[in-house]
Amino acid sequence: MTAVAVDLTPRQRTWTSFRRNPLGVGSAIVLILLALTAICAPLIAPFPEGYGADTSQPPSAAHWFGTDDIGQDVFAQVVWGTRVSMAVGVSASVLAIVIGLLIGVSAAYFRRLDTPLGVLVDLSLSLPVLPLMILVAALAGPSVRTLAVVIALFSWPEVARVVRSQAMAIVPMPFVSAAKVVGGSSLWIVRKHLLPGVIPVVGVSVVLTTSRAVLAEAGLSFLGLGDPNSWSWGTILHKAQQSGALASAWWTTLFPSLAILLLVLSTTLLSVAYNDARNHRNGS
């Protein structure tokens, strides 16, 4: 680890130490499998719709996860739910990251904007977000796109705060002043010097924002604000709640719940493992 390590770039070193962490690698594999399930949903199970003959059946060989009160296959619902849950999670997260990155970097680079943007972020973070998302989602009408936009709209302040504090450490660096002296435009400095510096923090942020967005989507859909024409993990729980199956048919709620847990837990462990791998200097 002495002679070889010297020649490695920081990125390679992070990768090497990440690969040695079984929890991190396991989480990455789980996430890849979930993503494959989302993409290949039509190949795995038919879209759950209409009425089936076997109503409220517990799990069996024919229906792995059982059936709900109108005879639909819960396994198919969970598989198709993976698609919407992950799509909303990822797109909301990407949108939130873009807004958060813009606001965070502007606050750090343009000094005059720092106070107003800081106050805006602080205020947004101190409000109870779920009731606000409920209000907006109810007004805008239920659809997959609404959910993604609404969740992004209330998730960016977290990202902005992280990005700002990282960018703040870069702005006073000599190379930024040097770039200003040679006449570099603000846009060029931000793109060439600030963005590369904040990208590593954003990496962790993407993962955590996605898992929070998946939880938010599940919460809104559970309350009945999901897209009525598609399945998500939260929608399955909502239907179970409405049909009164919560207290009787455990299989209608256990499997979507496990799917949510699996996704959120593996994203959390992945970001912990990535952070550990990046901080190998002060670690073991």
Binding site: V119, L123, L125, S126, L127, P128, V129, L130, P131, L132, I134, L135, V136, A138, L139, A140, G141, S211, L215, A218, G219, F222, L223, G224, L225, L237, Q241, L246, A247, S248, W250, T253, L254, S257, I260, L261, V264, L265, T268, L269, V272
Partner: protein
Amino acid sequence: MRFIGLRLARGLLTLWFAVTVTFFLVRLLPGDPVLAVADPNMTEELRLKLLADFGLDRPLGVQYIDYLGQLLQGNLGMSFRQSIPVTTVLMDRLPWTLILTASAMVVTILLGIPLGVLAATKAKGWVDRVIQLTGVTAQSLFVPSVGIFLMYVMGVWLGWFPIGGAVDLDATGFAATLSMLHHLVLPCLSLVLIQLGGYVLTMRTTLIDALGEDYVSLAKSKGVRPGTVVWKHALRNALLPTTTIAGLQLGTLVGGAVLTETIYAYPGIGRAIYEAVGQLDFPVLQGAFVLLAAAVVVANLITDVAYGILDPRVRTS
């Protein structure tokens, strides 16, 4: 005094922000609020009359000033569906939500402190590993999943606790109090389980830091018993960041309460929100958010002031 004044001003600013954001969101979003109360096929004449009835035909600025004025008098508008003031709908529900969230917070702190101390004093041992891993897992839980799981196991399967409602309506006096506590156990426990992880992990980190401080070494070298060092000297300082966490997690707690109340048919604000979503009762949704935001602001103010009393350094900075 100046410190309290500053915090108060900050709280008022947050509240104004919340109110303003909702006002403009409701007016500027594509959905027509009149469509929600009436038939979409109504005549243009009827539509204009309804708009005038709700005061929605006036300029936005006038509506905004009027809305703020009404709010100051405690008026949140009329419920679309129930034709009674939103304030009446929500004030009936507020005590239940306060009972639920406050009890969840107290139990979380009572469990979180000893668990955090245990993890910190056994740092790097297997007890610590188990506590840490459980803490991370608990933070990844989806509130309704926890609620449904507890309801199924302890309510349906074991039959220990009721699975819905907040109190037996025919119970009186002491029996009513007992019944209330009995109904509170499962919703409260659901909230505790999702909150606990954050508290324990913060407690652990700050206590490990505190145990490395000079005053701890000094106390140890003076021959103070290890238990006393941890509980009397280090813990007192480690509690301060935990107070901050309590403030920061308020938003999560409120969100969790909305979902938990929905599952247990617990008659708080959260259940009112769930019912209002089904009926597209926008004034109730808007009022519920304003009320919950106000509750969070007040709770934050209390934590801030408590922090200031506990730690004199905060007051001067």
